[in-house]
């Protein structure tokens, strides 16, 4: 089987629309969470919910990146995807070295073209209006994957994975297995999401899981998640091809595990998350003792953080409280199907630098969780093995294992 390494990165996120900006915000602990503003169709742009904060992207203008026809035929999520994939492919010089038919595109996106759908339905219900003829292609969840393929001329296996908050991690894991097995020589793997529409804000408000302050993962006073948007892309390719062309290697992806809780549509269960972590380690041929960092799903809800902590204790036993852990959602929010990709990007940058990102600016970790939450500054770890967890509503769990490249 092939060893698989990461040779390109790209992103459009609330903490940076280039990897350089994302890296700077990540290690400085600069949050992209800000007051909700400008929600289309909502009175005065205010969605009328109990919470006030979201991780929004303000500096993205599709006209700067896309031809008018493509901009018209895509929702914001797919526009993020195209731009982030271009960055990653360009950095890896992907198409100079891999044949288009040998490259896979594996995307995570759960919400599709949410804002277009809401806008068109509003026009229908209120005015019996015709739908824009590009509504279908704007709203389909696979639009991002298709448009990356069209934009870059990639003709290999191209899929969209929709598993709620685990979508991107499932996509990255499957891309890893495709390159490892030889089904593809390289892959663009990641996720994209732009779900911050009026109806979306209201639906989450009704679930009572969004923080009325802001996302504080693993904090004693955590009170929920903060919604976000964005895209992140990673280029996976065989170690052989990367070394043959002296490509810069950011990290190695070594394992992937997935599981289903088979329990409850909203309540997570520790056993399922633990199984996914164990499977990722088994897939990597690694021992739990080798893990030196965990990028937590860490939504900041009472239920997720307690359950994820319990799962970590199940897998790592006494070492659980000694493994540095953080959730970067405190910085970039929870971008649903894309979140695993943003966190894999953060983990990859951490492994490259030998220091792992802090848990936002949280200063009061919940002692009952008994975890080594990274507080204050990034933690110098040196070369290590990291897990990146994604634990979705509906009990769908995905975990990837990444190793420092030295």
């Amino acid at each position: 089987m092939n060893r698989v390494v990461i040779t390109g990165l790209g992103c459009v996120t609330p903490i940076g629309s280039t990897v350089a900006d994302f890296r700077e915000s990540l290690f400085a602990g600069t949050t992209g969470i800000s007051p909700i503003t400008g929600v289309p169709d909502a009175p005065d742009g205010n969605p009328g919910v109990r919470y006030t904060q979201a991780a929004q992207i303000f500096d993205f203008d599709p006209a700067q990146h896309l031809e008018s026809g493509i901009a018209t035929a895509t929702n914001r999520n797919a526009q993020f995807a195209i731009v982030a994939a271009r960055q990653a492919a360009q950095q890896a010089k992907l198409l100079e070295y891999h044949r288009p038919g040998d490259i896979a595109i594996m995307m995570g996106c759960a919400c599709g073209g949410r804002s277009t759908e809401e806008s068109e339905v509003k026009n229908l219900y209120l005015r019996n209006a015709r739908a824009h003829p590009l509504t279908i292609v704007r709203t389909m969840s696979s639009s991002g994957a298709s448009n990356i393929s069209i934009d870059l001329g990639i003709t290999g296996p191209t899929l969209d994975i929709s598993t709620a908050c685990a979508s991107a991690t499932h996509a990255m894991g499957l891309a890893f297995h495709m390159v490892r097995s030889g089904m593809a020589t390289a892959a663009i793997a990641g996720g994209h999401e732009a779900p911050l529409s009026w109806g979306f804000y209201r639906a989450w408000d009704s679930m009572r899981v969004v923080s009325t302050t802001r996302c504080k993962p693993f904090a004693a006073d955590r009170d929920g998640m903060t919604l976000g948007e964005g895209a992140a892309m990673l280029i996976f390719e065989t170690l052989e091809s990367a070394q043959a062309r002296n490509a810069p290697i950011f990290a190695e992806i070594v394992g992937f595990g997935m599981s289903a809780d088979a329990n409850h549509i909203t309540q997570p269960q520790a056993e399922g998350a633990a199984m996914a972590m164990r499977k990722a380690l088994d897939d990597a041929g690694a021992s739990p003792d080798e893990v030196g960092y965990i990028s937590a799903h860490g939504t900041g809800t009472q239920a997720n953080d307690a359950t994820e902590s319990a799962a970590i204790h199940q897998v790592f036993g006494e070492r659980a409280s000694k493994i540095p852990i953080s959730s970067t959602k405190a910085l970039h929010g929870h971008s649903i199907g894309a979140s695993g990709a943003l966190e894999a990007l953060a983990t990859t940058l951490g492994l490259q630098e030998g220091r792992m990102p802090q848990n936002g600016d949280i200063v009061n970790p919940d002692p009952s969780l008994d975890l080594d939450v990274i507080i204050g500054e990034p933690r110098t770890t040196g070369p290590t093995l990291a897990l990146s967890n994604s634990l979705a509503f509906g009990g769908l769990n995905a975990v990837i294992a990444l190793r420092s490249w030295r």
């Binding site: 031809e67 008018s68 026809g69 018209t72 035929a73 015709r130 824009h132």
Partner: protein, 93 residues
């Protein structure tokens, strides 16, 4: 330039994100890089603006801004004669 032409040019300028003064009746779609997706979008916006339905077979023959304006004039005139708007055609499959 009459009102129909000005409105059509404004729609095209907005769709292509270019100044209206750069567009004339003689401007071809090729010159301002109107692709198939632009064409679908512009046709829809024109239909909405003038409350008309562009027949499927006419879409393929539009090559210049002047073609659009003349087509709109004809459809608006036909509408005023018949007093009704025909159902909008499907534009995608």
């Amino acid at each position: 330039m009459d009102d129909t032409a000005q409105r059509c040019i404004a729609i095209i300028a907005k769709a292509k994100n270019i100044p209206a003064q750069d567009i004339s009746l003689d401007t071809t779609f090729e010159e301002i890089n109107i692709d198939s997706l632009d064409k679908i979008n512009i046709s829809f916006e024109v239909e909405e603006a003038f409350d008309i339905a562009i027949p499927d077979e006419a879409l393929g023959s539009l090559k210049t801004v002047g073609d659009v304006v003349r087509g709109v004039d004809q459809l608006v005139a036909a509408k005023s004669v018949s007093g009704s708007t025909p159902p909008a055609p499907a534009t995608t499959s």
